[in-house]
């Protein structure tokens, strides 16, 4: 009897073991529909879609419009859109803009009292590093040896190699923003694979060298300027970024590079871009037809929806007695206005076509940040075409078609003029460039400069490039961002404005990353 028990037990175990082996294979599950790095990069036609994600990291907040499935967490998606946080960090702490919302972070930026915890600072920081990590992956996967291994055709390899250079540009662009806003930051390249490691810290000067080196390396590898396919980074975009880098080299690195700045402005200007005839056209729903925009961030009311970007720049500026439909949208968010000091920069107000302030029901002075009627409105971005038609969605939502002009020709003119005044180029040529903008602004030459000063350039930049995310960098270069030499409403926290300590010309490294990465050192003052 015992034998039969043993036999039966063995039989039972045998059946059990057999079924277990079958089940064990089930522990290797892979997504049925999903893609992974291997499947994505095995098809040469997929690369453009990964590249599209690298670009849309600037415009979209995730892979679903206008929100949902966000790229970064811990902060509202729309609030943290790349261009929107860039605007918040570059314009809100200046004379150019105030925002009336009490959402955390907004008052701190208006009053220049931010801390390493301020949400928008965290948002910008993580958007930047999200872009860099994504670019690193693409640069790694699109390396020529890998493409050869995958057996792609020569034509595919050449095409993908260009994408790879674009990815290097996008990474350099985000590193430029890191350099400008945060200074001394974590440093990761395509050599650092995804995983648990602690990135090294790079100081501002070394990061300058890295960005410069990358841009110089890819300049010749990208297609030339005007006439290439719209929205791809090209040589002109690289040269613009180099010019910006050189213009601010004194701030970033303590070294003057105005000659290089002027050189690269000239290279941009030689790429064949033309100023648009009407200033306002640059900020309309069909501005993708502009001859002036060198590097846009693309938006669309139907196919590229977000709560950030130009949707924010349009809707947040609407309020008071403005009628939403006049701007091609269905919502007024009642947030953004300008300070009276900014209005005062427009000395020949009514004649300047860049004087786009909305005054009905608005008072010029700001006594309360949260009251929309305090401060002139500035509905510069309009979701209407040149012909006056609505954008693609017929003004039925807040989403707009307007592309954000990250780089445009006018800036190259202005940078050249400034570099020239600072000893890097021909002042005479600078005057000519400045006057091209004046003539467009006024419709004739009657307000042309005979000669120019550095302050003329700064003021001209304020008016020409208003709300185009350069004001903070410009004020810093002129020594006016911090300190008390130039004050505006709520600078430092009080309605009258006041002095702000110098350490605030760099944003702090967010605490969230500082506690995780012991290689990092907080910027001084925080």
């Amino acid at each position: 009897m015992k034998k039969s028990i043993i036999f039966k037990s063995i039989l039972f175990l045998a059946i059990g073991t057999f079924s277990l082996t079958a089940c064990k294979k089930q522990l290797n599950q892979t997504p049925k529909y999903g893609l992974n790095a291997e499947t994505v990069y095995s098809d040469p036609n997929n690369y453009i879609q990964v590249l599209a994600k690298l670009y849309s990291g600037l415009s979209m907040t995730g892979i679903q419009g206008p929100a949902g499935k966000g790229d970064i967490a811990g902060i509202d998606e729309g609030f943290s859109a790349y261009v929107r946080v860039l605007f918040n960090l570059q314009e809100l702490p200046t004379d150019a803009a105030v925002c009336g919302w009490n959402d955390p972070g907004v008052p701190e930026l208006n009053k220049m009292t931010w801390s390493p915890e301020t949400s928008f600072i965290k948002g910008m920081y993580y958007r930047i590093y999200y872009q860099i990590t994504l670019c690193n992956e693409f640069i790694r996967e699109a390396a020529e040896d890998k493409l050869n291994e995958r057996g792609f055709s020569a034509a595919d390899i050449a095409r993908i190699n260009t994408y790879r250079q674009e990815a290097r540009f996008l990474r350099a662009l985000s590193y430029y923003h890191a350099l400008d806003l945060f200074g001394n930051v974590p440093f990761v390249t395509e050599k650092d694979k995804v995983g648990a490691f602690l990135p090294e810290r790079i100081n501002r000067s070394d990061l300058f060298d890295y960005v410069e080196g990358e841009l110089l390396a890819i300049e010749g590898l990208l297609p030339a300027g005007a006439g290439t396919e719209y929205a791809h980074a090209n040589q002109a975009a690289v040269q613009m970024l180099l010019a910006k880098l050189y213009l601010n080299a004194q701030v970033y690195k303590g070294v003057s590079k105005y000659t290089e700045c002027a050189t690269y402005c000239e290279r941009v200007i030689a790429q064949g871009y033309q100023l648009d005839n009407n200033y306002q056209d640059l900020f309309l729903a069909d501005n993708h037809t502009s001859s002036e925009i060198i590097f846009p961030v693309v938006y669309d009311g139907l196919y590229a929806q977000t709560w950030g970007g130009t949707t924010f720049l349009t809707c947040a500026a609407l309020g008071g007695s403005m009628v939403a439909a006049d701007y091609g949208v269905n919502a007024k968010w009642g947030g953004l206005r300008v300070t009276p000091q900014y209005v005062d920069l427009y000395t020949d107000s009514m004649l300047d076509s860049r004087y786009l302030f909305y005054r009905a029901g608005q008072q010029k002075d700001i006594t309360s940040l949260s009251t929309f009627s305090n401060g002139y409105g500035f509905p510069k971005f309009k979701n209407k075409t040149k012909a006056g038609a609505n954008g693609s969605n017929g003004a039925t939502s807040a989403q707009v078609d307007i592309d954000y002009p990250m780089f445009r020709l006018a800036d190259a003119y202005l940078m050249y003029a400034e570099a020239a005044l600072r000893g890097g180029g021909s002042i005479g040529q600078g005057v000519i460039y400045m006057n091209k903008l004046r003539e467009r602004a006024y419709g004739n030459a009657s307000f042309n400069f005979g000669s120019i000063t550095l302050d003329d350039v700064l003021n001209e930049r304020a008016k020409e490039l208003s709300w185009e995310c350069t004001r903070r960098t410009d004020l810093i270069r002129y020594g006016k961002f911090t300190g008390g030499s130039y004050v505006w409403s709520f600078k430092g926290g009080e309605a009258a404005g006041g002095s702000v300590p110098d350490f605030r010309s760099l944003y702090p490294i967010p605490t969230a990353d500082l506690v995780l990465n012991p290689n990092l050192i907080q910027n001084s003052g925080y």
């Binding site: 790095a37 599209a52 849309s56 811990g74 009490n102 490691f197 990135p199």
Partner: protein, 1014 residues
């Protein structure tokens, strides 16, 4: 111990009785069945073996079987919890035999068995913390979901309904949560099949697919020595559900029909300003444009959207046995209307259980089948904000625009203001959201006891749980909400299912009555789960164009779990019990390197009353000490492929264009290749005491649970992953606590009984580690988003503090005890003292002269430190009454209504519309929204409450004769949510997550229940 008390109640609390059908003129058997205390046993079955004849005793213990053919029969007397007696009786023609039967307690004869994971054990052999709750102890009332039966009944088990919606879900927490970001829900096992507790599209609560009426008992396994046998899923405790079954193959057919009719009413409305008060307020404080927006109506918006709702619940069950085939078939129908207009939940369910045995009972088969369908209509939850819609506006405009409902419009366009709230009644009536969910749960267990070696039993268990949810959501094109998109219409469908295969061998020498009892089990199980749903576009209401495209791929996810387990229980002389178990789990959710985990446990019990010296102490009948240690895991809350670097295709409305050509994007998602389950080790010490033959019983448990590899969503170093925050094993947590439960037979007379059951739990939770690098400067993980200001959070996960602690500014108060409000004049007459600043209003805790995030402090926790459940049962002759109370102490609520809906800014609204404010505005303390006002600790309130959950009174009629037959009837009335005692200033102190916003109000429900036994 609980069981012992229960046993004493048999015959007094039971609601059902049955009568037999009698024909002919043969012999008759009559008699009475009593227990050892000479009390009548109600509902005992009396069966003639081999004949389809039998009867159940009535409330006096009487039974009668007519029409017995002359002969000799084995008559079996059987009652729940009592030892069965078989008597051989001879019947002559026309004889009327009278039998007086005394059934002794089972424990003295045969040990009571209790279901544990992968087997059963004698109650006395339990070494871990386990509680059995049978239908006698269930919550009474009109309940939609099984977990509600347990609410307030078990120490250590906290069950809170999430809101008052029909078919709504509950939060179930056993001994505090073990996790931050993974699941804190216990594993629920239905008749041996671990349920997928994840949601199914179209059902707000997956458990509501199970009819509470089909449930016989719950066993709640609380400590790791009891749950380690469930390995990687046991960390949050296990609830074993056993459904009702046919008891034996010979019992006569018993039909029970149960019908409940209920009226659901609003217990408490949100307290807001009346229209006149609101007009006065805006006229006093508003600017010209706000005043211009005021209307002339007096609308109570809450009365517009809430109504009294009818609920009916009907169940019929057939129980009996045919030729060694015990069966139970039941059908249940529930129709529950919500107090929010149009909300509706309907469930129809069929349940069949068969448990035949063959080969002289050595081969037993158990088959459980359940088919359920629910149909729900979900009212637009946006209408829950009705209280705050401007009460000065009419409900309807009198014209047809926007469905005829008053709406806030942009001027001069006359188009809906997208930022403004929409007419609450318009929201409800212009949206249709309906779903149907079908679910099938079935399992088959085949057990074979070796005929020549009866100690060994081998069994196979296969089971499956399949569900399909589908629905349609549409919004009218004419509604203000749907205006810009021309309405909307979208359909969804989701299927999910799991299958289970398991086999085990059990050795039990219990039949030999030896001093050494050995019970050993080894086995394995395989289970896999999938969820699949196609991606559908959203159309305009007319269906003529697409508003949002379908995603590129359908959704599909699958995971599998393979496990081996073994357990041994050794009992020496009924005095000492040793229990050890081990389980090895392999999960497809983890990389091959992290895939396998080992979960051991050991425990022991010492039953002092089994020694002779204790048997002399008459008043103590039970003294038992228990102790155990075990390791369990938690893997729910981790994505199925979270360790793999996946790419996902973007939606068509998030594309990028090159040269005007749009491309959908491919995005890599962040991943952690080393992800693994959380591990919780737990230690439990317990003591069970019984006095005066269990008239008073007491259980005490002390526990310590330490979670390591705690899963939390944390930031990753910038630049190292395709995300800035990721779910990863990053910390540790600790729960320690005390559980006390007691049952007291306060009055135990023949006709009058009063029993009190009381349980109390004290739980202390602390996060003990959180970061890859422990940094004292780390502020922790911010959680607890509130309304008012995008991105404001009031809670934090921080090392050294309980999970979900509040993180706020410390409010300062003036000489009159009123909170200081930033921006107000220090002197109301503005004599030049200026206005209060942040420094005046909040404590500068770090003393640096500015108020910023560094001055926020961690204080108070969401979860209660103590919670209690009390049940009183009273029976007087055929009357019975019971009351269940639940209370919580030591928890905290952030009153978001007070902070966000009680300032003048909330009236103002950003642009072009008005909102009503909470009556808390009249507290006149903080009436202005300022930068930090929302984060003031002024809004933290004690969440202590005492709630009378259920109050029921009933009467049991015996034998109502109808046309020669008779049936039993029990009538009872129940009130649910009778009252709440609390100092909390909001609508309801029972708030999930500790942040009070617009909650779906918990209704007060009045029910009439009728139960017929035929």
């Amino acid at each position: 111990m609980k069981l012992t008390i229960l046993r004493n109640k048999v015959g007094l609390l039971a609601l059902l009785f049955s009568a037999s059908f009698a024909f002919g003129q043969n012999a008759t058997l009559r008699g009475v069945v009593k227990d050892k205390n000479s009390e009548a046993v109600f509902g005992a079955s009396v069966v003639l073996e081999g004949q389809s004849k039998g009867a159940n005793t009535d409330a006096e213990g009487n039974f009668r079987i007519d029409n017995i053919k002359p002969g000799t029969y084995n008559v079996i007397f059987r009652a729940t919890g009592l030892a069965t007696i078989t008597k051989s009786l001879e019947f002559a023609a026309n004889e009327v035999k009278y039998e007086n039967i005394v059934l002794l307690d089972q424990i003295q004869e045969l040990q009571e068995m209790v279901v544990i994971g992968y087997g059963t054990t004698r109650t006395s052999d339990l070494t871990g913390a386990a509680t059995v709750i049978t239908d006698k102890n269930f919550q009474k009332g009109s309940l939609s979901s099984p977990e509600q039966l347990l609410s307030g009944k078990v120490a250590g088990l906290k069950i809170n309904s999430n809101d008052g919606s029909p078919g709504g879900s509950s939060t179930i927490r056993m001994r505090g949560g073990t996790s931050i970001s993974a699941s804190n829900d216990p594993l629920i096992v239905l008749d041996g099949v671990p349920l997928d507790n994840g949601g199914i599209a179209g059902a707000s609560n997956p458990l509501s697919l199970i009819n509470p009426n089909d449930i016989e008992s719950f066993v709640i396994l609380k400590d790791a020595s009891a749950t380690a046998i469930f390995g990687s899923r046991g960390a949050n405790g296990v609830i074993l559900i056993t459904t009702k079954k046919g008891k034996d193959g010979k019992s006569p057919l018993k039909v029970t029909f149960d019908t409940k009719h209920s009226l659901s009413t609003i217990a408490k409305y949100a307290d807001v300003l009346t229209a006149d008060e609101f007009r006065t307020l805006v006229n006093e404080r508003g600017n010209a444009s706000q005043i211009a927006q005021l209307g002339t109506a007096n609308t109570d918006w809450q009365k517009q959207v809430f109504h009294n709702a009818y609920i009916t619940d009907n169940n019929v069950s057939l129980t009996g046995g045919v030729k060694n085939l015990p069966y139970r078939l039941s059908f249940g129908n529930r129709l529950e209307n919500g107090v929010l207009r149009t909300d509706k939940f309907q469930r129809n369910g069929l349940s069949l259980n068969m448990s035949p045995s063959f080969l002289n009972k050595s081969l037993t088969v158990e088959l459980n089948q359940k088919i359920v369908q629910t149909q729900s209509t979900f009212a637009n939850r946006g209408a829950l904000g009705a209280a705050y819609f401007d009460p000065t506006q009419e409900v309807r405009t009198g014209n047809d625009v926007y469905g005829g409902y008053y709406e806030w419009l942009n001027q001069p366009s006359g188009l809906p203001n997208t930022l403004a709230p929409k007419n609450p009644l318009g929201l409800i009536n212009q949206r249709k959201d309906q779903s149907t969910v079908n679910r099938y749960i079935g399992n088959l267990t085949v057990s074979y006891r070796l005929p020549f070696f009866k100690a060994v039993k081998a069994s196979m268990n296969v089971g499956t749980d399949q569900s399909e949810g589908k629905g349609n959501v549409s919004e009218l094109a004419t509604s203000a909400n749907g205006y810009y998109t021309k309405g909307s219409s979208s359909a969804y469908r989701s299927t999910k299912g799991n299958k289970l295969i398991g086999a085990q061998v059990n050795y039990n020498n219990g039949d030999k009555k030896s001093k050494h009892l050995i019970d050993g089990t080894i086995g394995y199980s395989y289970q896999d789960w999938y969820t699949s749903s196609p991606s559908n576009p959203t159309y305009t209401e007319a269906g003529d164009s697409i508003i949002s495209q379908a995603a590129a791929n359908p959704y599909y996810t699958k995971n599998a779990l393979l496990s081996y387990y073994a357990r041994g229980i050794y009992t020496f002389n009924n005095q000492i019990v040793l229990n050890a178990s081990i389980r090895r789990d392999g999960s497809s959710r983890f990389s091959p390197d992290q895939r396998w985990g080992l979960f051991p446990s050991v425990s022991a019990a010492w039953i002092v009353t089994q020694y002779d010296f204790m048997k002399k102490v008459k008043y103590i009948n039970l003294l038992k000490f228990r102790g155990g240690y075990g390791v369990t895991g938690q893997q729910d809350g981790i994505g199925d492929y979270a360790y793999i670097g996946n790419y996902f295709q973007g939606a068509t409305n998030a594309q990028y264009a090159f040269g005007g050509q749009y491309y959908t994007v491919f995005r890599p998602d962040g991943f952690d290749a080393n992800l693994k389950w959380e591990t919780t080790s737990s230690t439990n010490f317990g003591m069970d005491l019984g006095f005066f033959k269990d008239r008073v019983s007491l259980s005490l448990d002390l526990y310590l649970k330490k979670t390591s590899d705690l899963l939390a969503v944390v930031n990753v170093p910038a630049g190292t992953n395709f995300t800035n925050s990721i779910l990863t094993n990053v910390g540790s947590m600790e729960n320690k606590g005390l559980e006390i439960s007691t049952n007291i037979g306060i009055i135990a007379k023949k006709n009058l009984k009063l029993d009190l059951a009381l349980n109390a739990t004290h739980n202390i939770n602390k996060v003990t580690g959180l970061s890859l690098i422990d940094d004292p400067n780390s502020k922790g993980i911010f959680v607890g988003g509130i309304s008012g200001g995008i991105g404001n959070t009031v809670q934090v996960q921080k090392v050294g503090s309980p999970v979900n602690s509040f993180f706020v500014y410390q409010q300062k108060y003036d000489a009159n005890g009123k909170p200081i409000e930033v921006g107000q004049y220090k002197d109301p007459n503005n004599t030049g003292l200026g206005k209060y600043t942040d420094l005046d209003a909040f404590e500068d805790l770090n003393g640096d002269g500015i108020i910023n995030v560094e001055d926020r402090y961690v204080t108070k926790q969401v979860a209660p430190k103590w919670f209690f459940g009390t049940t009183l049962n009273l029976t007087y002759k055929k009357w019975f009454a019971s009351a269940t109370m639940r209370s919580e102490m030591g928890g905290t609520i952030y009153n978001n209504i007070h902070s966000n809906n009680a300032t003048f800014q909330s009236v103002n609204g950003p642009l072009g519309f008005l909102n009503n404010v909470s009556s808390l505005y009249n507290v006149e303390e903080m009436q202005t929204t300022t930068e930090r006002q929302l984060l003031s600790d002024y809004y933290l309130e004690k969440a202590n409450f005492y709630r009378l959950d259920y109050l029921s009174v009933g009467y049991r009629f015996d034998k109502i004769p109808v046309k020669g037959h008779s049936f039993g009837l029990t009538v009872s009335g129940v009130v649910q949510n009778v009252f709440v005692i609390t100092k909390y200033s909001g609508q309801d102190p029972e708030v999930g997550g500790g942040i009070d916003n617009n909650i779906y109000p918990r209704p007060r429900v009045y029910s009439l229940n009728l139960t017929f036994d035929i």
